[in-house]
Every structure is written in C-alpha cells, then in structure tokens.
C-alpha cells in the first residue's frame, strides 16, 4: 500500500471514530451539553485536530444524521428489492427499526432527541429532508410499490409516513423511558399488523 493511500485510510478511520464518539455523547447528553473538547478528549486527539475534520459542532451533527439515514436506507432497500408481500415487508421494516434501537440505540436516540428536537442545528445544511433523503427515499419506494401492486391504499404520502414512522418512533421512545412492560421485540408482530391494517387497501 502506498503511503498516500495509507494516509487516506487513516484519515477515514479517524473520521469514523469522531462520528461514532460524537454520536454516543450527543445521544446520551444532548447536543448542547456535549462540547467539542469533550469529544476530542474521549478519542485522545487535540481540539485543533478535530476541527480539521469537522469545522463546527453543527456540521458534525449533520454528518451523523446523514450516516444514520444512509444506514437505515440501505437496510430498507434490501427489503424493497425483495419480492415479499407487503405485509411481510412491513414486518421486516419494523424489525430493522427495533433491531437498530437495540443494537445501536444511540442512532435512534440521536434521531429522536437531537435531529427532531434541536431543529435549529440542522436549518442550514439540512434543509427540508435533505439529510435524511436516503431513508425517506426508500420509504417512498416501499409505498410506491405497495400502491402499484394494489396492496396499499393510495393516499397522501405524509399521512402514511407519519402513521408508520411516528408509531415506531413513539414505541422506541417509550422503551427508552422504560415505560414498556415487555421487551421491544415482543411488539413486532402486533405493531406490524396494526400498520398493515391501517395502510392496506380497504
């Protein structure tokens, strides 16, 4: 490996490390109480060097939401590319969401507690749904296919999107607050069935 590619590689790894660490801290303590020196300290790098990677805390937060969106988007894309019946597709998407909430809780926490709660951080650079585009695009494709196959009711996009994603977000939130009496996964069947019943062709 040439020294240039090694350097590029090392930089990419460092960048990834910053994103991971910041994600954890933001998700746990919120955007405002987390500081750049704190993130740098956790990784053992200088504050100045961290700024070489991300010029502000806002830009770092925007990068995080883009990566979460790309991750969820690629998982849902696998579902979209399959030939499953829409009912099973819904089950898979619900499972992906809850699985992510369990295995990567910071991702969903960041989404709910930073991205949705501190909108001012994302106004410039993440206008509209730009930073969650990959995720939203896959949900659109899921709906589009469902309607085209005659399985889902043709309705306003946001009415359907809100019903689906609002429901999942709400459950993860209740889970995070330790209000749910059972494990999150045990709700997958019921929730998928409810979503299917709400969205299917009457």
């Amino acid at each position: 490996m040439s020294s240039t590619t090694e350097r590029v590689d090392r930089k990419a790894k460092k960048r990834e490390k910053i994103v991971r660490t910041a994600l954890k801290l933001f998700a746990k303590q919120g955007f405002y109480t987390t500081t750049i020196p704190e993130i740098a300290g956790k990784i053992g790098m200088s504050v100045g060097n961290l700024y070489n990677y991300f010029s502000s805390k806002e830009i770092l937060a925007q990068e995080i939401i883009r990566e979460i969106s790309a991750y969820l988007g690629s998982r849902i894309r696998e579902v979209n590319d399959s030939d499953l019946h829409v009912r099973e597709k819904i089950r898979r998407i619900v499972s992906i969401y809850f699985e992510t909430a369990r295995n990567e809780p910071e991702m969903i926490d960041f989404f709910l507690r930073v991205y949705l709660s501190n909108r001012e951080v994302f106004h410039e650079g993440c206008e509209g749904m730009i930073c969650v585009n990959e995720f939203v695009t896959e949900i659109m494709i899921f709906f589009d296919d469902g309607v085209a196959n005659g399985e889902l009711k043709n309705q306003d996009f946001f009415s359907a999107f809100g019903l689906f994603m609002g429901y999942l977000g709400g459950m993860v939130f209740l889970n995070g607050e330790r209000i749910l009496p059972r494990r999150l996964e045990s709700y997958i069947d019921d929730i998928s069935e409810n979503i299917y019943n709400a969205l299917k062709v009457p």
């Binding site: 509209g128 749904m129 695009t137 494709i141 589009d144 889902l152």
Partner: protein, 291 residues
C-alpha cells in the same frame, strides 16, 4: 414525387396540419398528388378504386377498421394494392400509426402496424418500408420534412416504432420553457396564472413523450407546455390515456418517471430540490418585485 393519400376513419386533422406548413406552396412544387381528399389531385377516388399506376409514396391517414368500405372496395384491398406499388409508406398521425382516438370508439380498430403498442401482423410485408409519423395531429414540419427527406433519398434513421429520429429522438420536455420549475419541483397550481411545471399534478407527459413540439413550435409560436397546458402524450402508442389533466400518483409519487430515469435517482434528487424554497419561482413572472 407522386403521393397517394388514403384516409380511413379520420378527422382530417393531419391534412389541415399540412396546410399550415409555412413553406407549403414552395414545398408542394416537388410533389404531385395522385389523390388527396382535400387538395387538387390528378385522380378521383372512384378512379383510385378502379386502379392507377405510379404511386411512389402511400400516405395512410386515420384509424383502420375491419371490413371498412369507403366507397365500393374494401379499404384493405386498396392498402394492399398501393402498399405493394409504393416505395415507401408513411402512416400519418397517431390514428394510422397506433389506432389513436378513433380506436377508442369500437372493436376491430387499429393503426396499420400497431394496436397501441402491440405489433400486428396484418400488413407485415410493408413494415420495412413504413415510416411512422404519430401526433394528434402530426406537426406540419414533421410531415413535410419527412417527405422531403424521402424524396431526396437521404438517410432517415428510425426508432424501434419506425418514427424518424430527427423528429422523435427528443422528448417534449426538451426545450420546454418550464424546465427550471421541473428542476426545483414546482408545479403550477393555477392554470394560466402562475408559471410552473405540470409534471407533478397536472398530468404533463412531456418527460416521456417523443416529439419536437418544443423544438419546432406550433405555427412558429408556441407549444402546449409553453402555453401552460400539459403534454397529452399524443405521439405515443398509449394515447389517449384517461384523465389527461391529472398526474397518476402513488402516495404522492408520480407513477411514471421521466424517460430512462431510475425511480431511486429521481426521488433522491427530488428530495434535495424540494428542500429549497426559491422565491423567484413562487411568483408569477409578470409580477414586479414589489408584488
């Protein structure tokens, strides 16, 4: 060059369109009408039925119908006789090409080689020499231009439906003055008062319809989409579709994508474009800055 124009079930729209060709007088000096339903011709229709010689280009106009008799002879017999005689056949308009509007009105109706996008075999021996000029009606420049190219025996590249690429390789979207609104996903919610793109709500089929309407303007002045009414897709096999002023959608997503554009790519771009609210596109162009 000697032309024979035969009309089946037709509204004469294509003939009228040709009369609107700005250079018509000069153009027709190179052509002789053996028969045309509206123009001075060498023969009468009964003489055509009796039989003539010397047809170089047979122009087929209007929807064909099984068992159709125009005067005395079955129309099919005339087509077979003069189709064999002609060097080239031109189906003029969407009716003669794909069936078009008149094919909606009864069974056994089609174009010469197509019923919608289904390729028929009834006149298969003519397929190689046929040129398709769909449009409702055909643009005058497209008909006059194609006949001139045929007369000069210049190369005439065709697409898979045998439409000349010179005129049909483009989409109607090419050259539409509303392209900026398409780019930023701004529909025109008020017919006639605000500029905008009609792809999202108002049924515009310009992005997947082949033709030159926005390159060669109608009457040298305008096109449907420039004027603010959607392209109805009149040059395509599935014309006319139901609900021409509505965009069929699946949960807000246009059911048909621009030609050759993958849905994921389109939706990704649209999501980004929609995020920006660009003031200039939300006001009528003729309104001054102050409002």
């Amino acid at each position: 060059m000697r032309l024979l124009w035969l009309s089946a079930l037709a509204c004469n729209g294509n003939a009228h369109s040709l009369l609107n060709y700005p250079g018509f007088q000069e153009w027709q000096e190179d052509f002789h009408w053996l028969y045309h339903p509206l123009l001075p011709s060498r023969y009468t229709f009964p003489e055509i039925e009796k039989g003539i010689e010397g047809v170089e280009v047979l122009i087929v106009d209007g929807t064909l119908e099984e068992g159709l008799i125009k005067n005395r002879l079955p129309y099919r017999e005339l087509l077979l006789r003069y189709g064999d005689q002609a060097e080239r056949i031109v189906t003029v308009g969407t009716c003669a090409t794909f069936g078009g509007i008149f094919a909606q009105g009864g069974g056994g109706r089609s174009g010469l080689h197509f019923e919608g996008d289904e390729h028929l075999k009834g006149y298969e021996r003519f397929w190689e020499k046929t040129v398709s000029l769909p449009g409702c009606p055909v643009q005058p420049e497209v008909l006059a231009g194609t006949l001139s190219i045929i007369r000069r025996r210049d190369p005439l590249p065709l697409d898979t439906l045998h439409r000349p690429k010179y005129f049909y390789a483009y989409t109607i979207h090419d050259g539409c003055t509303r392209n900026e609104y398409f780019e930023y996903k701004i529909d025109e919610h008020h017919f006639g008062t605000l500029e905008g793109c009609m792809f999202y709500d108002h049924g515009c089929q310009g992005t997947f319809t082949h033709g030159s309407c926005n390159k060669i303007l109608w009457n040298g002045v305008n096109s449907k989409t420039r004027a603010g009414t959607p392209c109805l897709g009149c040059t395509e096999p599935d014309f006319p579709r139901e609900g021409l002023w509505r965009t069929p959608k699946h949960m807000g997503i246009p059911a048909r994508m621009p030609l050759g554009v993958p849905r994921r790519a389109y939706l990704g771009l649209a999501g980004i474009a929609k995020a920006f609210r660009i003031e200039r596109f939300t006001r009528p162009l003729m309104e001054d800055e102050g409002g």
